[in-house]
């Protein structure tokens, strides 16, 4: 084997092995990334959105119900419609969540709890409504019990679903942007290219032929395979990072803000409904508002989104969110002021008119921003997923062609020694 043909034969085997290793690594990495990008775009994100929308619709259902109770005789058809629409949306999102193939045992229990309790909740609300219509005070008892069921049983179960979906999305992002395979791929690519170059130098020294067409073509193909895979993966990586930073992170944060906005409204209503026994709701309101926008209105979830937007421009989150939140807070303070001064009726009127419309204004603005971020997410996610099909066909073809060219090129040199 110490002869030149023997060395060349060994070299050809080593080269083929190196090229195949590179091809397999490239295919595995590309397939993993493609799967991860699919998981982010097609499974984890829709699941998270369903969980978030479920929570949001449930919170809205209860907020609308308490507002309509405070309105007393002034229940409007539009309010009734909003209640029914929110409830129907919650049921749809629950069905979507339940269909996910990846639910853990605790998430399945949560789905079960919610679907059972929603039945109880709507029963209690129906009793509340018919009693209230007849002027029976027991209607309020049904309403309180329904709201308690929502806050203490249904919403906590929805939180379980939400956390489950959020951590699934986190994991999909991590495997879609993990660098381990990429480092291995870069090493394998460098090794294959260095070996190809080394063998060509050796062949040149032994045979004094400057160009071995087979080896040169193989080097080009390996270079193409290597560069194509790296380019696709780094494009996927940056698209997925953008999808997260300017898409799903913003959606997630603003959805949380939206839910908290509705919860705060419900707190306000319940504090008024409980008439002086509502300290816990007033306290909950304060904590909730702080979570939306910080203690001074410049922090919290809204600021988080602002930072994300500033750090690398793009989605351009509407600065109006802060102003809208400020107007919710000012109506809230007006409601509390009236109530604390004993002007209960005035406080109720402010809550069901001025504050309700400020809350709806913020809600609409948040929905708009969520939609924009969602569109940005879709754009980046499809950019992340694009081009993997071609790459996954290209990799085996390029690998086979490069390996064949190596064998062909070296075989010709070996043949010269016969």
């Amino acid at each position: 084997m110490a002869t030149t043909p023997g060395r060349l034969r060994t070299a050809s085997i080593v080269l083929v092995v190196a090229i195949v290793v590179l091809g397999v690594l490239a295919a595995v990495t590309a397939a993993t990334r493609a799967d991860a990008a699919d998981a982010v775009a097609l499974e984890a994100t829709p699941e998270l959105l369903a969980a978030q929308n479920l929570y949001g619709s449930l919170a809205e259902t209860d907020a609308v119900a308490s507002t309509s109770y405070l309105r007393a005789g002034q229940e409007k058809a539009a309010v009734r419609q909003r209640y029914k629409a929110a409830l129907r949306a919650a049921e749809d999102y629950l069905a979507t969540s339940a269909q996910s193939a990846h639910l853990s045992a605790s998430a399945r229990r949560a789905v079960h709890t919610i679907s059972q309790q929603i039945g109880d909740y709507t029963d209690k609300m129906a009793s509340a409504r018919s009693n209230i219509r007849q002027g029976h005070s027991v209607g309020a008892a049904y309403l309180r019990q329904a709201s308690k069921l929502m806050r203490e049983e249904i919403l906590p179960a929805a939180t379980v679903l939400y956390s489950h979906a959020a951590s699934r999305l986190d994991n999909a992002y991590i495997s879609g942007t993990s660098s381990t395979e990429v480092v291995l791929l870069v090493i394998a690519g460098a090794v294959a290219l260095l070996l190809l170059l080394g063998v060509q130098v050796y062949v040149y020294r032994r045979t004094h032929r400057v160009v071995n067409l087979g080896l040169v073509a193989a080097t080009v193909l390996v270079g193409v395979l290597f560069a194509w895979t790296l380019a696709r993966i780094s494009a996927e990586h940056s698209a997925l990072s953008d999808a997260r930073a300017h898409g799903s992170d913003v959606v997630q944060t603003l959805s949380a803000a939206r839910i908290l906005n509705l919860r705060a409204q419900n707190d306000e209503n319940l504090a008024l409904i409980e008439r002086g026994r509502g300290e816990q709701y007033v306290a909950d309101y304060t904590v909730t508002a702080t979570r939306i926008a910080g203690a001074d209105g410049t922090g919290g979830l809204i600021a988080f989104v602002g930072d994300a937007a500033r750090s690398s421009d793009p989605v351009g989150v509407d600065a109006g969110l802060g102003d809208r939140f400020a107007s919710v807070m000012s109506t809230h303070r007006a409601v509390r002021r009236e109530d604390d001064h004993g002007n209960y009726e005035a406080a109720v009127q402010l809550a069901i008119k001025d504050e309700a419309s400020a809350v709806q204004g913020l809600d609409a603005a948040l929905r708009g921003e969520i939609e924009r971020a969602h569109a940005e997410f879709d754009r980046q996610a499809s950019a992340a997923r694009a081009g993997f099909d071609e790459l996954l066909i290209g990799i085996p073809l390029l690998t086979a062609a490069a390996a064949g060219l190596v064998l062909f090129g070296i075989q010709r040199r070996i043949a010269e020694y016969r």
């Binding site: 309105r71 005070s137 660098s179 780094s234 994300a308």
Partner: protein
Amino acid sequence: VNARVLITVSAIVGLCAAGCGNPSTGASDASQHALEPVRAPTTTVADDPQEDRECDANDPTKSLRPRDELPNPGEMPEGTTMWYIQQKRQLVVGVDENTDHFAARDPRTGKIEGLEVELVKDIAEAITGDREKIKFRTVLTADKNKVVARHDVDLTASADSISCKRWGEVAFSTEYFTAKHQLMVHTNSDIRGVEDLDHRTVCVTEGSSSQTLLETIAPKAKMLAVPARTDCLVALQEGDADAYLAHDTFLRAMHEQDPANTTILPEPLSEQHYGIAIPKDDEDLVRFVNALLERMRESGRLEQIYRAALHEDAPEAPPAAAYRDEGTTP
């Protein structure tokens, strides 16, 4: 070769620049944290108050005798509790909102109305001259006396049965209404009286006189204690309870809301005497309210309030006032 190594290294560095490590942004943590439930502050339960030493166990309704003539509305003597109420221009009152005819929120108007509401409006009018200068604070049975003891309200009128135990926490006006305990059951129930309550679920309001009574008259019954009075009607309607033990006053109101399915058993179980709860250290207000009640008994105003709220169920005459010092009337 060196150039290739360089390219390789720069490729790795370049990729890392695009995001080596995972780009965790904290958004999901932040939003999950934001949706966590807020822990309700735990309220400390006060020890059972000591019984009032001056309370007459044979007749706890004995209250403090009025001393002076009633001053004109809006002209309360300086420094008295009534004067402070007049100065802040509102009477803060604890009421229930679930007991039709006594104090209930009309779900169609949102206003609290009833016999007890009229009564406290008369008190507000006697102090400030304006019967609408009132801030209502709805109270649950379990805390209706606590809010008085804490001075969160000036007084509470909420079907508060006078007892020596409760006298330990608050002071009471003279009696303004006499009620009695009765049982309410499903119309087709086989429960005919207290003797049938063993092993059945009986609903009572938490912290009420009914809770104590049930433990005495039917110790083998299963007790379901709920926060608001109407919650017991819900429990009965939903099949969570077999019977509801409460004052006839509430039961009549509950029965009217579901006449076909509920029946009140006629057997009277124990008499209850309602008084207005006032902070113990506001003796001047107790005497003032008693003087006002005295005037309302004499003028027929109390009967008028009964009739307006209770119609044919209104009692013939208001209960007589009893005082601790059996001296002469002023």
